[in-house]
């Protein structure tokens, strides 16, 4: 049972959030120019890391904000959360503020 730090609402129980998948993949910047390989990578290719990962979560029972969450899939430790436009990588080592 995680406690996730919503950028707007603060620390809230995981039951208020919905999981939204891998946040390390970005929708192609220019869809018209993207190659089939780009689309294949975006739609289908997913790592299944054992360790730190960045995921999309939506505060669906709260402010409805989509956010990025750094989570350790092995230990369930949580790292930083970030708004969609803010960079956040699995290797982020700025420490945990959750």
């Amino acid at each position: 049972m995680f406690i996730i730090k919503c950028p707007y609402c603060g620390e809230r129980d995981v039951t208020e959030f919905s999981y939204g998948g891998d946040a390390t993949r970005a929708y192609p910047q220019d869809p018209a120019q993207a190659t089939p390989e780009d689309w294949h990578a975006y739609v289908y290719e997913r790592d299944n890391p054992r360790g730190w990962h960045v995921e999309w979560w939506q505060h669906s029972q709260g402010c409805r904000q989509w956010l990025k969450l750094r989570r350790n899939t092995l230990t369930h430790e949580l790292g930083r959360t970030a708004l969609p436009h803010e960079p956040l990588s699995p290797d982020d080592d700025e420490g945990s503020d959750a």
Binding site: M1, F2, I3, S18, G20, Y27, P31, A32, A34, P36, W39, Y42, V43, Y44, W56, Q58, S60, R64, Q65, W66, T75, H76, L78, P84, H85
Partner: protein, 995 residues
């Protein structure tokens, strides 16, 4: 000796209130006890030692322990709807009129015919299920019935639980589990530092072993310190003190769940209180002071009633005044069990012998016992316990071998030392370390902010419990809130104890007879573990599953160590290298009622009702649940069934007019200067040029190119749209739109809001639809002014409304949205007008029939595996713009000609219903396996065509038009010959809806 509490000591028993006598019954026999007794202590006081039969061999069993680790003394408690199986008698508080039954015996506890299993025991060894019942193949189902009967535990009541349960959530700085010496010391120092503390204990009274042992704190009996400390904690307003509360689960981020048995100690709960309560604690710091569990020793027939853990023997004496035996023997591998000998002697009992596996024990307690003239057999073992339904004697044999000496006894206290109750620590995934002295597993580094103290950490001396507990409380307070206070630790005299000898199993005696139980509840013996090893089971996890050791409801609290030790001996490795199994929640069984709490019956999940719900109910609607919503399925008249009613409703709608509640469709208000651009990217068809006052059917794809959802979106103003979604996808569509706006296209100036609940919706369909509405709508709805696919804001009988000329039924149809508060009124008015014109209301069944007649797709066709082209909607995909999912629509597999595509079906005989879900195959007579070409997605009876019809997804789709196939439903053996036709059964040109 049975009855009259003849085993009760005249003065001892701190837990008892002797002024309150209680009557109770066990297996129909009446007994008396005192307030403060447990069922186990009261039965022991009455000399009742045979309490149950074992799981597999139906061996007679008595009480083994004095706590939640009990694996023998299980009972069915109460009667009728409150009957509860497998309750541990050691934890059941006695109450006036308590009724309990022994379990797993037939016809009675004394004469159990199934104890014949003990004679055929060689065939019931580890893994016997796997070996015996696998042949002949397929017979398992026949064996299973008898096996389950013979190897049962208690019986559930089979009736609805009459009691209430509830849940509480609590945040705290420090959670202390266990209110023994260490836990109380920790809570006290944390309380004094000002932290918000919660402290739990599973027993009815706090104190742990302070109540069961004789100890001095600051020179006074330990109960003085106990009472003072408990009083101080209970008085503090920063402390939550819960007894009868078991912490049973430890989850991520310091979430601890506990069950409080609020009213289990009463025959019937107070009507204003829940029976049990689940607490969910979120703690900044957790202190585990869960104590330790004494381990049994595996010697021959160590399960005879009268054999119990040495600590339990003295606990029953000190707390409940029960002299479980007058001639007792103690069998131990450690010094601690000598306390039992001292306590029994001081209470006037006789100790026949202390049998110690160690060659020359000389600790303080050992000397004290010797000083009282007790014979101590060193370097010896109890090789066999004798007796049937009760212990009569035991054989003592030197460890080096030799003739056994038989000693008469009526109680035998065994002790394999103590193992910390590491269950909660282990549940988090944290590891254990093996500690050689005294020979037990202790918690390694905790995973979350948590520390184990006292016996739970392998520190068994009272002085250490108090000092370490106090320190842990202060440290936790500092960590969670800063600041610190020094707390005085009371003085305790320490006994010098020597190291236990790490053995938990001993050889059979010279008679080579008897069973040495390791897991008492699942009847697993030393021989079973040895057999598993011979058969190649090396991992402890495999050993556990093969022998079922540790898999009973006691989760192996008293069997894991011995099992591991045997495995270690067989593999010739040290115990820590053999490893431990994983403990999982719950620590002790938790009733389903408590877990469900108040979320049962109609509170299981919320029920969403539309504004018109009361009208539906009053007019006899049969409801159907669609997600959380309930919607009218059909409105039967008199004796009509669903088919009759639907046929009437459809005929009335197509002949005159029908009214249907469509409030549940998702409605999303889309606003902003870039709203048109946003919708154009979301929908697969064009939305950029939709004029104000027009509605358009829109198709949404997923990013992988499959169809996601469909609905009608209307442009209400220059920068304002109303989107509708299917009922089931309202939530997912909203979340998806928010995802794209917030993460992919943050530059778009668009805001979206769900308005599903703000607007009641109903459709008015049929040739007389306009007639129904023209007088109540304040705008001109003539065909010229309000043609097909028009949309407008308006007033309905004065109420704010929106009107859309759209059709799902294929008839001339209008969809009305009215401000939700006016929904019921507007509906009633519309229905009255429709009925005056020969129309009807209609429900989901008729809605489905009419959409099937028109070949409109719904959830069974939009199943996540169909593309727009599969559904006959390929022409909608825009080639002029980018949209979600576009890039994937050209993938070769999506264009394969044999894809399953939408078709219509009619039975060749024109009469037989086609089953939804039926498989389409070429030849009904062919022997399987046959190629499955597709399946039937929706079926209906068309009153207008006077034939059953169906929609299906069929390989090749309309390329097979005209072909005859078999719609086979092997589950029921039904099969019908069908012909492939266009899915547009009625009015394919759409002349009706265009008007």
């Amino acid at each position: 000796m049975i009855g009259d509490q003849l085993r009760r000591h005249p003065t001892l028993g701190g837990a008892l209130d002797r002024s309150k006598a209680l009557r109770f019954s066990f297996d129909g026999q009446r007994y008396s006890g005192f307030q403060g007794d447990t069922l186990a202590s009261a039965l022991l006081a009455n000399g009742v030692t045979l309490l149950g039969r074992s799981f597999k061999y139906h061996r007679p069993r008595g009480v083994m322990s004095i706590g939640s680790e009990e694996s023998n003394a299980l009972a069915e408690l109460r009667t009728g709807a409150r009957r509860e199986p497998n309750t541990r008698m050691t934890q059941i508080e006695l109450f006036q009129g308590l009724e309990a039954q022994s379990q797993n015996r037939w016809p009675s506890l004394n004469l159990d015919l199934l104890s014949i299993n003990g004679l055929v025991a060689p065939f019931l060894a580890a893994g016997f299920y796997y070996k015996t019942f696998m042949r002949p193949r397929g017979f398992w189902e026949k064996y299973e019935y008898f096996i389950r009967r013979a190897a049962g535990l208690g019986r559930a009541s089979g009736e609805a639980d009459p009691d209430r349960y509830e849940r509480i959530h609590r945040h705290c700085d420090i959670l202390v589990t266990g209110a023994g010496a260490a836990g109380l010391a920790a809570a006290k120092s944390a309380m004094q530092a000002g932290a918000r503390v919660a402290i739990l204990d599973e027993r009815e009274a706090p104190g742990g072993w302070l109540r069961f042992d004789r100890n001095l704190i600051e020179g006074a009996p330990a109960t003085v310190w106990l009472d003072e400390t408990v009083a101080a904690l209970r008085a503090a307003d920063n402390v939550t003190f819960l007894t009868r509360t078991t912490a049973f689960g430890y989850y991520d981020h310091n979430l601890i769940t506990a069950v409080e048995r609020v009213q289990d100690h009463r025959a019937v709960p107070d009507p204003h209180k829940p029976r049990q309560r689940i607490w969910t604690f979120r703690a900044k710091q957790v202190i585990l002071a869960t104590g330790a569990v004494e381990q049994p020793l595996a010697f021959a027939d160590n399960d005879r009633p009268g054999v119990m853990l040495a600590g339990a023997l003295r606990g029953y004496l000190n707390a409940y005044g029960v002299m479980a035996g007058h001639k007792a023997v103690i069998f131990s591998n450690n010094d601690h069990a000598y306390r039992t000998a001292l306590d029994l002697i001081d209470a006037g009992g006789a100790i026949e012998a202390v049998v110690d596996v160690r060659p020359s024990p000389a600790g303080d307690l050992v000397r004290a016992v010797r000083d009282r003239g007790v014979r101590v057999y060193t370097d010896s073992i109890v090789s066999h316990a004798k007796g049937g339904h009760a212990l009569q004697a035991c054989d003592v044999t030197p460890r080096g071998g030799g003739r056994p000496e038989t000693i008469e006894c009526d109680a035998l206290g065994m002790s394999g030392g103590w193992n910390p109750a590491v269950h909660l620590h282990s549940q988090t995934g944290a590891k254990l370390d093996w500690r050689d002295d005294p020979g037990c597993f202790v918690p390694a580094t905790a995973k979350w902010p948590c520390v184990s103290v006292g016996a739970a950490n392998g520190d068994f001396q009272l002085a250490d419990c108090l000092a370490n507990g106090s320190e842990a409380g202060a440290q936790a307070a500092k960590a969670s809130m800063g600041g610190t206070t020094a707390t005085a630790v009371p003085g305790v005299r320490a006994f010098r104890e020597e190291r236990p000898h790490p053995i938990w199993e001993v050889p059979l005696g010279p008679d080579r007879r008897g069973k040495r139980f390791v897991d008492f509840q699942n009847d697993v013996t030393v021989e079973d573990v040895e057999l598993a090893h011979r058969e190649g089971f090396v991992s402890v996890e495999h050993l556990k599953r093969y022998t079922t050791m540790g898999m009973a409801t006691d989760q192996g609290k008293t069997s894991n160590i011995a099992g591991l030790a045997i495995m270690a001996r067989l593999r010739d490795k040290p115990i820590p290298e053999v490893g431990t199994t994983t403990f999982r929640p719950p620590f002790t069984p938790v009733s389903i009622g408590a877990i469900a709490g108040q979320e049962r019956g109609q509170h299981f999940q919320p029920l969403r009702r539309t504004s018109m719900d009361d009208w539906h109910a009053e007019n006899g609607a049969v409801f159907q649940n669609v997600g959380l919503w309930r919607r009218p399925h059909y409105y039967p008249h008199a004796q009509e069934d669903v088919d009759d009613a639907s046929r009437r409703e459809v005929t009335a709608t197509r002949g005159a007019v029908g009214v249907c509640d469509v409030t549940t469709l998702g409605k999303i208000d889309v606003q902003g200067p870039d709203a048109a651009e946003f919708l154009n990217r979301i929908y697969a068809n064009g939305f950029a040029k939709l004029p104000v006052g027009k509605a358009r059917y829109g198709l949404m794809l997923r990013e992988d190119g499959m169809v996601f959802d469909d609905g009608v979106t209307s442009r209400l103003g220059e920068t304002r749209y109303l989107m509708t979604t299917t009922t089931g996808n309202a939530g997912p569509v909203m979340a998806k739109l928010e995802f794209y706006l917030q993460t992919v296209w943050p530059e778009l100036r668009v805001r979206i809001t769900s308005v599903t609940e703000q607007w009641a919706g109903f459709s008015v369909a049929g040739p007389k639809a306009r007639e129904v509405l023209q007088d109540v709508i304040d705008i001109d709805i003539s065909d010229g002014a309000f043609p097909f696919m028009a949309a407008a804001e308006c007033r309905f009988a004065g109420a704010p409304a929106r009107l859309f000329r759209i059709s799902f039924s294929g008839e001339r149809a209008y969809e009305v949205n009215v401000a939700a508060d006016h929904g019921a009124e507007a509906w009633a008015l519309t229905v009255a007008k429709a009925q005056a014109l020969g129309g009807s209301v209609y429900g989901l069944e008729s809605l489905g029939t009419m959409r099937i007649e028109k070949g409109h797709v719904a959830g069974t066709e939009i199943n996540g595996q169909t593309t727009a082209d599969d559904l006959g909607l390929g022409g909608m995909l825009s080639s002029k713009k980018e949209f979600i999912g576009k890039a994937m629509t050209g993938r070769p597999a999506y264009l394969a000609p044999d894809r399953q595509k939408l078709v219509g079906l009619r039975p060749v005989d024109g009469a037989t219903w086609i089953k939804a879900g039926a498989q389409l195959i070429e030849d009904g007579a062919a022997a399987p396996p046959v190629q499955m070409l597709g399946h039937v997605t929706a079926v209906a009876f068309s009153p207008e065509l006077n034939t059953p019809i169906a929609l299906a997804l069929l390989s090749g789709g309309m390329a097979r038009a005209g072909a005859a196939l078999e719609a086979a439903y092997p589950l029921t053996g039904e099969s019908v010959r069908v012909r492939v036709v266009s899915p547009h059964f009625l009015d394919p040109e759409g002349t009706r809806m265009h008007g």
